[in-house]
Each structure stands twice: as C-alpha cells, then as structure tokens.
C-alpha cells in the first residue's frame, strides 16, 4: 500500500499544485525572515565593531598621554582627565564587554531587540543599577519581529493545518472513502500513511527551502553543522507534532469545516493561550518585587551611606590594613570614600537584587516544569537558545558583565588606596572581557517527539476503536 500511496500522493500533490504553492510560500516566508534576521545581525555587528574601534582609539590616545606624562611633557587634556590617575582610566578608558553574534543568531530575534549587546563597565557606575535594556520602540517589542522562529513556531503549523485538515473528511465528503474502505486495507493505516507522506514531503520542502534561502543569502549553514541539524531537528519534530494533532482531529472530529475549526482551536491553545497563561501564572506565583519599591530601598541606603561616608571609609580602611601600610601619602579623595560607601551599599543591596534574579529563576523553573504542555514553547525556546538570544543568554551576558565589572573595579582598588599612579606599563595588565556563550542543548526535541507520539497513539487508538465510524459518519 505504501508504494502506491507514495506514488499517487505525490502525483496528486503536484497536480493540485500543493507542492508548488508550499514551495513558493516557504521560500517567501523563510526568505523574508532570514533577510530580517541578517539585517538585525548586521546592525548589531556594526555597532559592536564601532565600539571596538572606539576603544582602540581611546587606548592609543591613553598610551600617548601616559607616554607624554612619563616624559614630563604638557598634555592637552584637563587635569582631572589625566590618565595617570587610575580612576580616570577606570572611568574614561573602559574595556568593551560585547556579546557578539554567531552564525545562527539570525534565526531568532528572541530578546535581542530588548537588551544591549555591549557594555563598557566603568568603576564609578553602580553595576547594580546598570540598565541592560535597549532603546527600542515598544511597538516593535509588542508586535515582535518577523523572524525564522516566528515562521516555524506560528506559521508552519498553520500551513500544516491547511495542508492536512481534510485528509480524511474530503474523501468522505467526495465519496471516494467508501470505495477505499471496500479494499482489503486498514483504513487507519491508510490515513496514517497519507499524513505521513504529506509530513515527509513538507519536511523535504522545509529543509530544501531553508538551505536554498541560506545559500541565496550567502550563508554557509554547514559551518555550524550541529546547529543546522539542531534547527532542522527541532523544526521537523515540531511539524511531526502538528501532523499528529491533525491525525487525531482527522480520525476524531469528522467534517472538513469542523476539522479546520478544531485544528485552529488547537493552534490557538498551544501557540497563543498556553504560553500566555503559563507566563501569567508564573509571574503571579513568583511575582517580581516592585521595582519602584526597590528604588526606594536603594535610595534610602544611598542617602544613609552618604551621610556616614567618613565613618564608612574609616571602617573600610580598618578592614583593609594593607592599604594603610603601603600608602605613604595617606591622601584621601572623593574616590576613597566613594568606593568605601559604594562597597557597603553593594553588600547591603546584594540580597535585595538577588531576589529579582531568584524570582526570575523560579519563574523560569516553573515554566520548564510545564512547558511540555505546549511544544510551541519548547520550540521557540530551543530556537532562541540556538540563536543565543534567549532570556538565559542575556542573563548570562549580564552576569558575565557584572563579574567583569567587579574585576575591573577591583583592579583599580589597590591603585586607589595605595595612591599609586597608573603608568604605561600597567596598560597591558588591564583585565579584558571575553564573552562565553551558553551551549545550546538539543534534548528538548525529544520531549516534543514524545508528545507527538502520544498524540499519534491516541489518534490510532481512536481510529481503531471507531474504525467503521471513520467511513460511515456523515459530515
């Protein structure tokens, strides 16, 4: 049976122009999405490169200034911008902490339109109040971006629905099903084969369309073969899931119109409702403490620290006797007390700020418990993780920048309290930032596969139980 189904299903799909229509649609959708994705990447890289160049230029001028100062020459900058002051280097000659894109970043906008891709942590800027969000029109955030992830998660299921909602009911309505059922075959097998073949052809078209589009845009997807396979893998199992749903609906529901309505209902349920309900439940179960109240808290602490800054500095120096010993000048500037009090505020605020990360982690955890309810969530998450634009990627970047920020600050603390000048020789010792990307995991595809199998099994069970019903029931 398979051989004949294969041969004639393909013939029919070609003759009623399904294959042609799907190819054109897929090429258009993938093409536009890839174009948008690449444009975003280009923009991102351009900005990072510009920032890099600026850092290099600044460093060159810093070295020149230091050189001049060493030789006792006069320089053209204001005295409080002399780079032999370590605080000047710490503030005005920051390192670039960038989160570069990679080969597959274009596949999902994810959170990349919301967060910054580079930071220049300075010693004086309070790391805990650093803003990592990007200047984007909120309308853009609201509507979202037309990226490959959108095409795969939202539109592909709709194509599948249009492609398969009436696989059984059309035959029933035209009457050819009775003739088929009079043949010595299992009708549920026949439906399964027919859907399987459509799944096969759509998969082939999807993979081909993706590769063609990637090549057209001059990408070589085989460079990151693992990611390419991951992307194709998750797309295919996600499609399989939708075909399984279509199978269930085909053998369960009945008339074409009702099938279409039910499938659409499933689509709204899995793609729109479950994610929003999970998100809302997550954020009401683990609510973020009010940011406005956090500001109040920080402000009160800061006000208090400012009032007691002399006392704080004394305490700080008592805790760090090494500075008192090594420093012969005992000179105290604004920066000395600033660092000491900021240090204190930072320590006292740590638990408050941690709470935010903790709540977010709890929300994430809650979602990961329940995300299997909707393969759309898993797919979206996997694709954004492959792209390196998921919430956890930006969280990771933020953590690394915060870490580097501290390294950077700590690098200058001994200079400050020892009242040591910054020299040309110290330039090479400056810490550098290197972004370590998270490694995407590919296991989630198996979860979807599991769900798809459950749907298939359920469909098969219903089909066998109602085998006769499949043929006879009228629309």
């Amino acid at each position: 049976m398979l051989k004949y189904n294969f041969k004639y299903e393909l013939k029919q799909l070609l003759r009623n122009r399904w294959i042609q229509l799907l190819s054109v649609l897929l090429l258009l959708l993938f093409g536009f999405a890839t174009y948008n994705g690449l444009q975003k990447i280009e923009e991102r890289e351009k900005v990072i490169t510009a920032a890099k160049e600026e850092t290099l230029r600044n460093d060159e001028s810093m070295v020149m200034l230091l050189d001049s100062l060493d030789r006792g020459m006069e320089i053209s900058v204001s005295p409080w911008r002399y780079p032999n002051n370590p605080m000047v280097v710490g503030n005005y000659y920051p390192r670039l902490a960038a989160m570069p894109s990679h080969n597959f970043t274009f596949i999902a906008t994810g959170q990349s339109d919301m967060y910054s891709h580079y930071k220049k942590p300075a010693v004086s800027r309070s790391g805990f109040m650093e803003d990592y969000t990007e200047m984007t029109s909120p309308i853009q955030l609201l509507f979202g971006s037309f990226d490959l992830a959108f095409v795969i998660v939202y539109l592909l299921p709709l194509l599948i629905i249009a492609f398969s909602y009436d696989i059984l009911s059309a035959e029933k309505e035209s009457g050819s099903l009775r003739l088929l059922a009079a043949q010595p075959i299992r009708i549920e097998n026949w439906v399964l084969q027919k859907l399987g073949l459509r799944f096969f052809w759509l998969s082939v078209l999807v993979i081909l369309a993706m590769l063609v589009i990637f090549f057209i845009f001059g990408l070589n997807p085989f460079v990151s073969i693992k990611l390419l396979l991951g992307l194709i893998g998750i797309t295919i199992v996600y499609m399989l899931f939708w075909f399984a749903v279509a199978f269930l609906v085909n053998v369960w529901v009945g008339s074409s119109a009702r099938n279409a309505v039910s499938l659409l209902g499933f689509w709204i349920f899995f793609v729109l409702l479950i994610p929003s309900v999970l998100n809302q439940l997550g954020s009401s179960l683990y609510p973020m403490p009010s940011r406005a109240l956090m500001i109040n808290q920080i402000r009160t602490l800061q006000a208090d620290a400012t009032k007691r800054q002399d006392e704080i500095l004394d305490n700080y120096l008592r805790d760090h006797p090494e500075y008192a010993i090594n420093d012969s000048t005992q000179q105290r500037t604004f920066w000395h007390s600033y660092f000491a009090s900021e240090n204190l505020v930072r320590q006292e605020l740590a638990p408050v700020l941690e709470n935010y990360d903790l709540q977010l982690e709890k929300q994430q955890e809650w979602i990961s418990y329940f995300k299997w309810i909707s393969p759309a969530i898993i797919t979206q998450e996997s694709i954004t993780k492959m792209a390196g634009t998921s919430t956890s990627d930006y969280g990771n970047f933020r953590k690394q920048v915060e870490g580097f920020s501290e390294t950077w600050r700590n690098h200058f603390v001994p200079y400050l309290y020892n009242n040591r000048n910054f020299t040309k020789a110290d330039v090479v010792k400056l810490p550098q930032f290197e972004y370590m990307a998270l490694r995407p995991k590919f296991l989630s595809a198996f979860t979807i596969l599991g769900i798809a199998v459950i749907f298939l099994a359920l469909g098969l069970f219903i089909a066998i139980k109602n085998r006769n019903h499949l043929v006879l029931s009228n629309a």
């Binding site: 900005v47 930071k119 200047m135 009436d166 074409s256 929300q363 979206q380």
Partner: protein
C-alpha cells in the same frame, strides 16, 4: 425581508454546536482576562502610590544640604496605570515605569515589566485586548464563513432567487445576524469593565466617554471584519475555501503584517542603540558649557559676558553666586542637547508611525490597535508625553535648585547648605495624559484609515452581493 433573514440566520447559528462552544470559550476567556487585568491594575497602582509617597518623603527629608548635592541625589518620577489599561494593556509591558530625575542628565524610563519576565512574555498575554483584537475577529470568521456558501451548497440559493429576493436586503439580514451577537458580547464586556472601573477606588481619570470611544473603535473594527468575511463567503464557491481564505486574511492582518511593519520600520528608520545615543549626547555636551568646569573656554566666555553686563571687575562682585548661575547655564545647555537628541528619536518615531499607517492599507488591525491603545493611554505617544513631562519637571527642578543656590550663597562657597525645609517647596511632579478630544485629534490618521476600511469594505460587499 431583512428581519426574516436575520431571524433565520440567528436560529441557524444558535443551533450549531460549534457556535455555542466557541461563544462559551470566548466569554470564559474574557472573564478570566478581565479578572487578571483588574487585579494587576490594582496591584500596580498601589505600588505606584507607595513608591511616589516614599520617594517624595526621601526628597523632603534630605535635611540641610547644598542644592546641587540635592540635584545629584535626584528624585524619581513614576508612571501610573490608567483605568482603560484594564481593557487594553497596549505597550505598557514594554515601557519603563520610573524615570530618575537628576542634575545634568536626562534618563530613560526604566524597569519595564517584560524585562522582568521570562522569554515567554513575548508570546503575549491573556488580556482583554488579546481577546478583543485577536479572538473576536476569529469568532466572526467561525460564525460567518459559510453565510453565503452554505446557501449555495444546500441549493437554497436557487430557491431564494426564485422567490425574488433583493440582494442587499438579504445581505443586510445576514450582516445583522453576525453583527448583533458580536455587538452584544463587546457591549457586555465594556459595560462590565465600566462598572468594575467606576467601582475601583482612586480610579482617577476614568471616563465613560473614553470607554465609549474605545467601544466604538472595536465595533467599527468588527464591522470591517464582518464585511471581509461576508465578501469572501459571497465570492467563493465552497465553505472550506471560504474558511481557509478568511483565516488566511486573519493571520495576515493580525499577525504577519504588524510584524512585517516593525521590521520595515526599524530597517528604514532605525533607533540608535542606547550606547550610541549616550555617546552622541556626551559628545554634544562636551561642545558646550559644563556647569562643573570653571576653566573651560565656554565658562570663561560666560564669565566675561556677566562681568560686562553688571560692569564689575570680578565674579565675586556679582549680585549672585556665579557658581550657581554657571550651573544653571550648564544645565540649560545640557537640556538643549537632550532636547535635540530626543527630538531626533521622535522624528524617527514619527517616521516609523508613518510606516505603520501605510501598512494599515493592508491590515485594518493596525489602525484599530493604535486607536485602542491611544484611548487607553497605553500607547507609545503617552509614554513619550510622560517622559517629556518628566524632563520638563527635571529642568524646572534644576532651575529651582540652582536659582536658590545662586541667590542665597556667595561665590566659591560650595559648603553652603539650604534649609531642611527648603525641599518641601519644590512642587510635586504631576502628569495628566491628554484628554479624549486631544487623543482623537492626534489619531486622525488612524480614524480615517479605519473609517476608510469600513466604507470600502461595505462598498465591496454591496457590489459583490449585487452581481450575484
């Protein structure tokens, strides 16, 4: 004739299980959405009240302090939630809610809700606007896709023709049969929302008029969708094709076009990144007067001007503290720089808005979405206005502080401190969103577009039915 058709259609609809089921689901979801939103609304506004009061207390109780220290200490402006956000959350989730107002710098509003949620937040929320804008059009499709095709399929079309029906009356009957249930659902929702809102305490700016305007927007939007669904149903042969085409249009209008519009808008009129923006501002700031730098060229120039104006030899002879005056002048220069750069942003935003409006030609969803957000004061424009008001307040505050410093202290006396009571004299920050009339006149373009859709779709529908 119209009434007969109407009654017959309503009877047919009410006897279909798919109609009853989908109506039930939509009503249930609406109930949940309104409940969640009203809870959230109350919660946010309580937090807003607490934060505003406590921040003001921080400001008032600074004690004796140099006014410029106070300027650096700064204060916060918080953005409240407006009553109609209960129905349309708009872009609220993506805009910051608190602006830090300090000396020398205009800060962006920070801490948007979306940044404090997981990536799932980007899928959207179960809010009334989601149901009003996405699900009810879908409901219209489910109710109406076979309105005309079924007559053809059952053969009743020829029978009706032989009875000598008039095309437009027949159509109007069918139109009413779709419109009345949808109208009732929306009416019920808005009525409940109105009572919930007028029942809440501290509901501030809530007006029934605005609620009615919003209701009207949705009703027009639904009428357009009904027209589209009927046009399709009248022009294709099979119910299945009608259903699939109507769904295709729904996907295109509500999901694809808005996304396409953002991509086009951002590609054509990009915003600078936060870092670039800050760097550009810094560069411009350095070109002018720095209030903290008495040695700069600009500062010397100002000094000379003042000496000439007051005909004195040294700045200590001026009748005010030149430090304070210079501070204020520096502040004014910086404010100008911010004004210039934010104006550039605004221009980009205005051009992006044009892109959205031109895309509205292929999607009635866009003007409806923008109008609804505007009336609810959850749109981007309101956010801009709030930020501008905060900036104006910041500028006024700086002037208030610098003037006090200049008028009451001696030149060079940085240790001078203002009275502990002085801070209370600063007026509180107030922001009133534009009223309904202003909102509507700002949205002329969207109103025209939505109206255009209504007229055009009605015209096509009449034309399509007539030639049958």
């Amino acid at each position: 004739m119209i009434l007969k058709t109407f009654i017959k259609e309503i009877k047919e609809l009410s006897r279909e299980s798919r109609v009853r089921l989908s109506l039930l689901i939509v009503l249930l979801l609406l109930g949940v959405a309104v409940f969640i939103s009203s809870r959230q609304y109350q919660q946010v506004n309580t937090q807003y009240e607490t934060a505003t009061q406590s921040e003001r207390a921080n400001w008032d109780n600074q004690g004796e302090k140099n006014p410029h220290s106070a300027a650096h200490y700064g204060t916060y402006a918080f953005k409240p939630k407006y009553p109609l956000s209960l129905l349309d959350q708009g872009v609220d989730k993506y805009t910051g809610t608190s602006v830090f107002l300090e000396a020398h710098a205009r800060n962006e509003a920070r801490f948007s809700a979306a940044a404090d949620q997981t990536g799932l937040a980007r899928f959207g929320d179960l809010t009334p606007d989601f149901i009003l804008l996405f699900l009810i059009p879908l409901l219209i499709i489910l109710l109406g896709y076979n309105s005309f095709t079924k007559e053809r399929e059952m053969g009743t079309l020829t029978l009706l023709k032989s009875q000598g029906i008039s095309g437009w009356r027949w159509m109007l009957g069918k139109w009413m049969a779709l419109f009345v249930p949808i109208f009732l659902i929306a009416f019920l929702l808005f009525l409940i929302a109105g009572f919930v809102l007028s029942g809440l305490q501290d509901f501030g700016a809530f007006s029934w008029k605005a609620l009615f305007a919003m209701f009207a927007v949705y009703i027009v939007f639904y009428a357009v969708f009904i027209n589209i669904v009927l046009i399709i149903s009248a022009s294709v042969k099979k119910s299945g094709i009608s259903l699939v085409s109507a769904l295709g249009i729904w996907i295109l209008a509500c999901l694809v076009v808005p996304k396409m519009a953002t991509n086009i808008a951002q590609a054509k009129y990009p915003y600078p990144t936060a870092q670039e923006f800050a760097a550009n501002i810094l560069a411009d700031k350095e070109k002018g007067l720095d209030g903290h730098n008495p040695w700069s060229e600009e500062s010397k120039k100002l000094e000379k001007e003042m000496l000439e104006k007051y005909e004195v030899d040294s700045i200590s002879q001026l009748p005010f503290n030149f430090d304070g005056y210079r501070m204020q002048k520096g502040e004014e220069h910086e404010a100008m720089v911010y004004f210039k750069h934010y104006n550039y942003l605004k221009e980009q935003y205005a051009k992006q808005t044009e892109v959205y409006q031109s895309m509205a030609a292929i999607s009635p969803f866009l003007p409806a979405r923008f109008l609804s957000m505007s009336i609810a004061h959850t749109d981007y424009e309101t956010h801009w206005n709030f930020n501008d008001a905060a900036e104006q307040y910041r500028i006024n505050t700086q002037k208030f502080l610098n003037d006090h410093f200049a008028e009451n202290s001696k030149f060079g006396d940085w240790s001078w401190q203002a009275d502990a009571d002085f801070w209370k004299k600063l007026p509180a920050f107030k922001y009133e969103p534009s009223n309904l009339k202003q909102t509507l006149s700002q949205n002329n373009g969207n109103i025209v577009l939505l109206g255009g859709w209504l007229v055009l779709s009605f015209g096509i529908l009449l034309f399509v039915v007539k030639i049958k």
